[in-house]
């Protein structure tokens, strides 16, 4: 095939591509990777205890509590939506599941059965929460911001009502299980990472992921191409709900109880959205990478844990996170402008 793009008499399409080096250097994921390495070196140089395997294991666990809802937001945001509900879905799932499986724990039912029942229950509850948002969006035509704000508020309220404001249940067995594993990677973290990688594959290599980007990029074109846009959007919000529900189960396993504050008081929904934005996604939809979200979540985890490690008051963490979002957004607009100039 001829690479000449100026053959006489033919419409000319596509200007020459910028050099590979330029593409790598201006690649948001590449820059993020360097930032992540720099942060690790910085925190390690200020306090060498940061490099202990125990701390690394803590980082991985904190990362796991964020990464599933961050990937949920990646699917929703690249499809042109937003999901503010994930934080409270995490909370409400945690308190409901904790209440349901506490009797099993009290009767000394096999730990594996307890965890399996809890996981299935969290998937169902999460799917219901996501389905409620999807209903408001696709049937009642609410914009995603408002629809998921409704779900967020209902979920946060229900979590408080159900838990009476106190942690629900106590299952120390769950904690023992979550802490075992191979080396620094606990079983709990390993499972979360497998789910995360699977979702990355779905987003970038399958027809489902392709439809996701197409809808976020131009909903009308997607519909004209025969894609069932409504069905896809329903599935995306249900998926986001399920991932938030699984995150609720994750925190239950980690702490052995469910609390209405989990995912709500730390604004987990906004942290997840921050991870996606730092990862280079566009809030208008159509643009975003799984790898970017993974790195964004890693950077946010290292910053929040690292600042505590070097004795910065936790109250300052949100200020630093804000600065990171601003930097990421500036980098993105710089890249867009430099691409237009080539």
């Amino acid at each position: 095939m001829s690479t000449s793009s100026d053959r006489v008499g033919s419409p000319v399409v596509a200007a020459p591509a910028p050099s590979r080096l330029r593409r790598v250097v201006t690649n948001q994921q590449f820059v993020l990777f360097l930032v992540l390495l720099a942060l690790i070196v910085f925190f390690g140089s200020r306090n060498s205890l940061f490099f202990r395997t125990g701390e690394f294991s803590n980082l991985l666990t904190d990362f796991s509590g964020l990464v599933l809802i961050a990937i949920a937001e990646t699917f929703v945001i690249t499809a042109g939506g937003i999901d503010l509900a994930v934080g409270s879905t995490t909370a409400v799932t945690g308190v409901i599941v904790a209440g349901w499986i506490q009797p099993l724990v009290n009767h000394n039912v096999n730990q594996a059965v307890v965890l399996l029942v809890g996981t299935l229950a969290s998937i169902v509850i999460g799917a219901l929460a996501g389905g409620f948002s999807a209903l408001l969006i696709t049937v009642f035509d609410l914009v995603p911001f408002v629809a998921t704000l409704v779900t967020y508020s209902v979920g946060a309220g229900l979590a408080l009502v159900i838990s009476h404001g106190a942690p629900v249940g106590y299952n120390p067995g769950a904690i023992y299980w979550s802490a075992s594993g191979v080396g620094m990677v606990t079983w709990l973290v390993a499972i979360v990472l497998v789910v995360a990688v699977t979702l990355g594959v779905v987003l970038h290599l399958t027809v489902y992921g392709r439809y996701n980007f197409a809808i976020g990029s131009n909903e009308f074109a997607a519909r004209a191409a025969g894609i069932n846009v409504r069905r896809h959007l329903v599935s995306v919000y249900v998926l986001a709900g399920i991932l938030a529900g699984l995150t609720g189960m994750f925190f239950y396993i980690r702490s052995g109880s469910g609390a209405a504050t989990t995912g709500v008081t730390n604004s987990a929904n906004l942290v997840a959205i921050a991870a996606v934005v730092i990862g280079g996604a566009s809030l208008v939809g159509g643009v975003g990478r799984w790898a970017g979200t993974m790195l964004g979540a890693a950077v946010l985890t290292v910053v929040s844990d690292g600042l505590i490690f070097i004795n910065v008051p936790p109250t300052w963490i949100q200020v630093v996170v804000g600065a990171l979002i601003a930097l990421a957004a500036l980098l993105q607009s710089f890249r867009r402008r430099s691409r237009r100039m080539t």
């Binding site: 095939m1 001829s2 690479t3 000449s4 793009s5 053959r7 008499g9 033919s10 419409p11 000319v12 399409v13 596509a14 200007a15 020459p16 591509a17 779905v202 290599l205 399958t206 027809v207 489902y208 392709r210 980007f213 197409a214 976020g216 990029s217 131009n218 009308f220 074109a221 997607a222 004209a224 191409a225 025969g226 894609i227 566009s282 159509g286 643009v287 691409r339």
Partner: protein, 254 residues
């Protein structure tokens, strides 16, 4: 006309009527369209052009009348049905997904899957799609150096050329183009008109809807004029000038 009379039309409308409530959008519309023919569909705003193409593409269901594709009577339940019957429609401003690659856009909604188990799991075969997209587009005269670049990196005319190339690639009988040269400059319009000509060479029937009468006169073989939901003229393009066409559209010289 004697040559076309013996052939079977690829698209035929018989006495099609369409109402929106009490508003009559199409009244007793009948015409035949043949393979290798570019037909201009013109009319003032509200003349029924959009209603007509939406009826042909399955967005609207006619109240009465028949639509035949390649001699077979058809009833559309959705636009998807008309696509399966070989009719591709490029709506005004529907266009492409700008953040996807050119190849992904050509195959949008019809993704090639990988072979075997991976394909059944929904894995796309990106390499073969990019390669085939390049072949499809070069066959209709659109030269592309790389199909893996995103559509957002193309100019307006280039995007429209790719969108039409995509429609040609998938249409078996008819492509409907709704104002494809809207918002385009002279040079970009020329690119688009060239692609329309190549659709004719591929044995497709093109329904070309446009307000830009010089474009219609330049590229079509036959012109159908709609006024107030009725077909008021259906004649070979050589019988029209810009003035007489304008007269037929407005009804002022009758």
């Amino acid at each position: 006309m004697t040559t076309t009379a013996t052939r079977q039309p690829v698209l035929e409308l018989r006495h099609v009527n369409l109402h929106y409530g009490s508003v009559e959008a199409l009244h007793d519309v009948s015409f035949s369209a043949y393979a290798g023919e570019v037909i201009g569909l013109v009319g003032d705003n509200g003349a029924g052009k959009s209603s007509l193409i939406k009826t042909i593409s399955g967005v609207n269901t006619p109240d009465s009348g028949e639509i035949l594709v390649d001699g077979t009577l058809r009833h559309w339940r959705s636009p998807h049905d008309s696509m399966e019957a070989g009719i591709e429609t490029l709506y005004q401003d529907s266009g492409l997904a700008p953040d996807l690659s050119i190849g992904s856009n050509v195959f949008l909604g019809r993704e090639t899957r990988r072979r075997g188990v991976l394909g059944r799991l929904g894995f796309v075969d990106q390499t073969s799609m990019e390669r085939e997209a390049l072949e499809h587009l070069s066959r209709v005269g659109i030269t592309i150096s790389e199909t893996n670049r995103t559509v957002s990196e193309l100019s307006g005319g280039q995007r429209q050329a790719v969108a039409i190339g995509r429609a040609i690639a998938w249409a078996r009988h008819v492509i409907i183009l709704d104002e494809p040269t809207n918002h385009l400059g002279a040079r970009q319009s020329a690119e688009v008109l060239k692609v329309i000509t190549s659709a004719r060479e591929h044995g497709l029937c093109v329904l070309f809807i446009s307000h830009t009468l010089p474009h219609v006169l330049e590229v079509t073989d036959r012109i159908i004029v709609l006024r107030l939901g009725r077909v008021v003229r259906d004649a070979p393009t050589r019988e029209f000038t810009v003035e007489s066409l304008l007269g037929a559209i407005t009804g002022l010289n009758e």
